[in-house]
């Protein structure tokens, strides 16, 4: 897990990024403190046609049938250069309410695909629960599968491919967890932990340098 702002590794219980001090409050200062509503397929950029929307709705239905605990949503926007997708995703998952989503699918179980047609970036924002189920490498594979269609601006097709790949990855993950029930707990335990900041003789810089991520990157001023 990385900081949405500086992409540095972040402790799983850190209130702020040890590198840049980024937190939800900074995101709220940028995007707003209010809660917003978005649809499951939110095409703010208006780049999907009706048949593509229908097909994507079908796929989302199938995904929800297949994974009754997870929430799948799409945000397509034409954002400015100052807006970073990971920050937007971080803020959206904490401030947006997906219309029609049932109570059993909280935002922490969300898999949100965000595409910025302006900066030509695509990403998958994950809630706390879903980031355990969909590792980073699997998510990257899903995005890569859709990349040729994204390049050709075939967003509907790209999203369809992407969700099919996500569904396949989640199925495989579920099968793996079924065979190895202890793997989930082990994955949780493997998460990076931050050394106690109250330890004497440990400066902030040292903590940052000893970061469990091993990045050893200097703290930004």
């Amino acid at each position: 897990m990385k900081c949405p702002h500086c992409s540095r590794p972040v402790d799983h219980e850190a209130e702020t990024c040890y590198s840049c001090g980024y937190s939800l409050s900074i995101a709220e200062s940028m995007f707003g403190r209010n809660y917003v509503q978005m649809s499951r397929l939110h095409d703010a950029a208006h780049c999907l046609r009706k048949p593509e929307k229908d097909a994507l709705e079908d796929i989302l239905d199938q995904m929800e049938m297949r994974f009754p605990q997870l929430l799948f949503c799409i945000y397509l926007g034409a954002l400015s250069d100052q807006v970073r997708l990971n920050e937007l995703g971080f803020w959206l998952l904490n401030h947006a309410e997906v219309r029609g989503a049932d109570y059993a699918r909280p935002n922490e179980n969300a898999v949100m695909v965000i595409i910025d047609v302006n900066t030509k970036q695509a990403g998958i924002s994950l809630g706390y629960y879903s980031e355990i189920l969909l590792p980073e490498d699997e998510g990257y594979r899903c995005l890569q599968a859709a990349r040729p269609f994204l390049v050709n601006a075939a967003y509907g097709q790209a999203l369809a491919i992407m969700f099919r790949k996500i569904g396949r990855s989640l199925s495989q993950r579920a099968r793996f967890l079924k065979r190895n029930p202890s793997e989930l707990e082990a994955a949780i335990k493997r998460r990076p932990t931050v050394p106690s900041v109250n330890d004497p003789g440990t400066t902030r810089n040292e903590i940052a340098n000893q970061g469990v991520s091993g990045a050893g990157t200097p703290i930004r001023a």
Partner: protein, 427 residues
């Protein structure tokens, strides 16, 4: 102008219709009334028993002769051939066909038909008189009647026909001068049956080792005393593999079969007895004398085939049984050898042999191949299906996750790429 043209058209149409009418008037009688010969005399059909009113003047009998003719016809129906010829001479004019009152003969035709005479005038239609068809054969002839008459003794020319020349040219090429395998100079058999038997004997000669030369005699006839079939066989065929058969019609039990000295010496007599008995038994099953000949020949052909096999076995050093009982016994040695082989085979590698035999079956291979293919396709489908979105719902275990960076639902977990080709950068 218009009136003149219309009038001219009307006139032309009237002329055309007139010509068509005249043509029809002249032609129709020709078709309606064909030219027929004019008949004279009585037209009263009751005057004649058959064909009343249809007989031309030249062929009509006088009214006074009608009774006489009716007597003649009745006599014709019952008369023999000689009488018929006499009657034909006495009644040159002929008459209406006689009533069929009894069994008819082919000879009736000669007696009834009137030969053409010079005295008949040009008006007399002789061929019409000849149309008097002989009385039909209402019942098929009984076979016994064909040869029931006494046949002559086999002597003189008839004897020469049978025995003067060698009847069969063994290994011949079927030339013009060659005789056939069936010797029937008296033509005792019908043409069809004779042809059938002859073709069968030729076929047998082509296929089998021993040929059959069949001499056909009447049931009451006898082979002349000075003729010995054994000698004739030796004279005709020598060492050739031919069997000479003297068959007496209706009496298959009197048949004489000559095999030749060489064959006789090699095999025990009981073998020939069995052949003869089976042939006679087979012939006696048939109802008619002609079928008896055919069945006899067929059975003899079969038995000669097995006799040839027997000779082969003897040539190989095997001892041929010399009594009826031993001939009737099964070949225990062969049976024992077969059963021994079966036991060895079963005890040796039974499962392997069964498997080998099963694998030889094409249907088994085909079904195995089909099963393998279907398994392959089914496995692939299952592999593809298990991860598809249409599968069963997947449930994950519930977990309590701590929050980070102040987010209630998400801690900023994100993976992304850039699809800007110009920048070619990925996050």
């Amino acid at each position: 102008m218009v009136t003149k043209k219309g009038e001219a058209k009307r006139r032309k149409r009237a002329q055309l219709m007139g010509s068509v009418f005249l043509f029809a008037v002249f032609l129709c009688p020709a078709y309606a009334k064909p030219e027929l010969p004019e008949w004279d005399g009585k037209s009263d059909r009751e005057s004649y028993p058959l064909g009343g009113g249809l007989w031309p003047a030249g062929a009509l009998p006088d009214s006074n002769d009608s009774l006489e003719n009716s007597d003649q016809t009745s006599r014709l129906a019952n008369s023999t051939g000689a009488e018929n010829s006499n009657n034909a001479g006495s009644n040159p004019n002929g008459g209406p066909p006689p009533l069929v009152s009894g069994p008819a003969r082919g000879e009736d035709l000669v007696a009834v038909s009137r030969p053409p005479t010079i005295n008949d005038g040009p008006i007399a239609l002789k061929p019409v008189v000849g149309l008097r068809v002989p009385t039909p054969m209402l019942m098929p002839l009984r076979i016994e009647e064909v040869y029931s008459h006494e046949l002559p003794e086999v002597e003189g020319n008839l004897k020469d026909d049978y025995f003067a020349l060698r009847p069969v040219s063994v290994g011949g090429t079927g030339g013009v001068g060659e005789k056939s395998f069936l010797v029937d100079p008296q033509q005792l058999l019908t043409e069809q049956k004779s042809h059938d038997i002859e073709r069968f004997l030729e076929y047998h000669a082509e296929e089998a080792e021993f040929d059959i030369c069949l001499l056909l005699f009447g049931g009451d006839q006898k082979i002349p005393a000075d003729i010995s079939l054994e000698q004739k066989h030796q004279e005709w065929f020598g060492q050739d593999p031919v069997v000479t058969v003297a068959y007496f019609l209706e009496h298959p039990e009197l048949t004489q079969v000559v095999y030749g000295q060489q064959v006789k010496q090699r095999l025990p007599a009981v073998v020939f007895d069995r052949i003869f008995q089976s042939c006679v038994r087979e012939a006696q099953v048939a109802e008619t004398a002609f079928d008896q000949v055919e069945r006899f020949a067929i059975e003899l052909s079969i038995r000669l085939y097995w006799m040839a096999k027997l000779l082969e076995r003897q040539s190989a050093g095997e001892t041929i049984a010399s009594t009826q009982e031993s001939l009737s016994e099964p070949d225990w040695q062969e049976l024992a050898a077969e059963s021994e082989g079966a036991v060895v085979a079963s005890s040796n590698s039974g499962a392997a042999r069964v498997t080998e035999k099963l694998m030889d079956l094409p249907w088994l291979l085909m079904s195995l191949g089909t099963g393998f293919l279907s398994c392959l396709i089914g496995g692939g489908w299952w592999w593809w299906r298990r991860d598809s979105l249409a599968g069963k719902p997947v449930l994950f275990p519930d977990l309590e996750m701590p929050s980070r960076l102040g987010g209630v639902y998400s801690g900023g977990g994100y993976v992304g790429i850039s699809f800007d080709v110009s920048a070619n950068t990925e996050n």
